[in-house]
Amino acid sequence: MHNRIALFRAERGVSRRELAEAVGVNNQTIGYLERGDYKPSLELALKIARFFGVNVELIFSLTPFSPIASALKRVGDEP
C-alpha cells in the first residue's frame, strides 16, 4: 500500500506528533506509515483522511502515486 501522508503533512505544516495525537496513535506509528513499513487499518486510514479533509483515495493507494512534478506537468499541459 502506498500513501502520501508525508506530502500532506509537509503541505499543511503538521508534525508527526500533531497528526498522531489527532488520530489517536503513537507518533512513531506515523513514521512507520510514511515509510511504508506498516499498513494502517481502515479505521486509521479514514481518520487520517478526515484529519486532512480529503477522500481516503487521495492519501492511500494500492498502486504507486505519480510524482508531483509529472502531475503538475500534466495539469499544465491540459488546454
Binding site: A20, G31, Y32
Partner: protein, 160 residues
Amino acid sequence: MKTTMKWLPLMVMALAASGLISSFILTSETMGLSLVVAGVAVALSALIRVKGPLRQPTLDEPPDEREQSWSNRANLYAFGTVALIAMAGTMGFAGWMMFAGASGYGAPFQMGVSLFAFGMVLFVMFMLLPTLFASWSMPDIIEDESEPDGGLRFVRPRRR
C-alpha cells in the same frame, strides 16, 4: 524510547541454557549453582523485556494498532517456539525417567533440579523471544525533523 536488542536476549537465553546443561553435569553438592545461573537469567529476562522494543501496555497508555499488531506477531512466534521446546523437553525428561527407572542412572534429586532449570529456561524464552523477534524484524525508528526531540518520545494517544 524503546531500544532494539538483537544480541542481548540471545546471550541471556544461552546463560539460562548453560544453567540447564550444568544441572546434568554438576554433582549433587554443586548442583544449586545451576539454579543460581538460571535464576540470574530469569531476572535479566524480565529487565530486558521491559527495556525492549515492545512497549509494555498499561491502562493509561494502551498500545495503538501498530504496537498491538507487532506484539501479537511476536507473541505468536514466541508461544509456538516455547510450546515446541516444552513438548520436546517433556518427552526428553519422560525418557530419562524411564531410563533411570530401568538402569538406576540419575537420582530423583538431580532430575528435580534439572526439571526446575528447564522450567526456568522456558520462562526465559517466553520472556525474551517476543523481544528478540521484534528486535530483528521491526524496522528502525526514524526521527521526526519537525520535533525538537526527533519525535522519539512516547506520546500517549488520545482515546477516541
